[in-house]
Symmetry: C2
């Protein structure tokens, strides 16, 4: 039965984890599951913001591009993540593009209806405030990084952040669960692929980062943290 699948998927999203059977039902009723193929766009920057998405599986890139085609990668999202964050009670447009990197199952919810449910669930409001607050802190930290740190430190801090958002502990290392190219890393912080390459190799020589057989980064968190004081 289809709603059963939706319910299962919803219950795996951290935001909804602690809701009871009755509480989750109205959300099930307004939710849809959609499968997006790799390289497709969930939405483009500027389109009217009418839905919010929760990732059940797959990977989504949130990015902006300017007229010259220069790209800023805002984030790489994975299972459990919500996007966009700035969607509630604001009627505006999507602030960035959302592109599927790996075939993804997304839970799609009309934002208007979700807002109504949000208002009737104090529990859900609490969690949402927490999520938004953390997003604000994260953005402020990234802005501070860009303003106060040099490129070497920005790259170290980017890798540390990726360990938290896209990494998993494997032995004494953190393994990044996504394969990032030099250019992608560069576009996350606004530097060049050459600088990323030279810096990563510098960190490799210091034995702080290595690449496994499949090209995934393995990072020694503690060593890297010492680099930025």
């Amino acid at each position: 039965m289809k709603t059963a699948v939706i319910k299962n998927h919803l219950q795996e999203v951290s935001l909804f984890k602690e809701l009871s059977e009755e509480e989750i039902q109205p959300i099930v009723d307004i939710s849809q599951i959609r499968i997006y193929p790799a390289r497709s766009f969930v939405f483009m920057q500027g389109e009217p913001l009418d839905r919010v998405f929760f990732i059940h599986s797959g990977k989504v890139k949130i990015n902006k591009t300017d007229l010259a085609g220069k790209e800023q990668i805002v984030s790489i999202l994975e299972a459990g993540d919500m996007f966009p964050h700035a969607g509630f009670f604001r009627k505006g447009n999507f602030p960035a593009h959302a592109e599927i990197l790996e075939t993804s199952e997304l839970i799609v919810i009309p934002v208007g209806q979700f807002e109504q449910i949000l208002l009737t669930y104090p529990e859900l409001c609490m969690k949402m405030f927490k999520v938004l607050g953390e997003k604000i802190v994260d953005l402020q930290n990234r802005l501070e990084e860009k303003i106060l740190r040099d490129t070497y430190e920005q790259i170290v801090m980017l890798l540390l952040r990726l360990c938290k958002s896209n990494g998993e502990k494997v032995g004494d290392r953190y393994k990044l669960t996504t394969h990032f190219t030099n250019r992608e890393l560069a576009n996350m912080i606004g530097t060049s692929r050459e600088t990323i390459n030279r810096t990563i190799n510098r960190l490799r020589k210091k034995d702080m980062i290595e690449t496994d057989e499949e090209g995934y980064f393995l990072i020694k968190l503690e060593n890297l943290e010492d680099e930025i004081i």
Copy 2:
């Protein structure tokens, strides 16, 4: 009567503007008015986040400093503004310093009690989600600016942002309501005072900005907007 003053002050904050007499009372009960003298600190980065503030009058600088003493000015807040934004349901620490620039009357509310009230007022939740969403969009835009734009454009965009947050329309110009030094402007976007000086003078020659008798900037919004496409 003291609570009458508090109620009046609260009603001037945009977040509470549309609340009825009965609705605002519980907020009055947990609010305090405090006067902070210029150059005092409301809080320092790292202190436990246990209160939120609404500015009734005066000016507050939110900033961060690194070990070397380099400063990042996060924002200059005025009457009607709330800080910090990332305070709800998160129990953490203040993410930056808050320093009084001009003697300020602040409404002080214990964050835990405010959270409880928030949950019982759907109206208030809606507005707060909106405020947080706008904050997120603003931070993402500033990050994008730092990543995709050169310093000249960053300065133009900073001035445009200041028109919106700290400006008032005077004839066909926007007047910045706060006197900013070159160094302060530099610390908002992470450039040097020399570069700010040279760029502002360049904009002066292009007749996009001028300084009035008291040293406040007068900005021609439309002309400046054309600079960044």
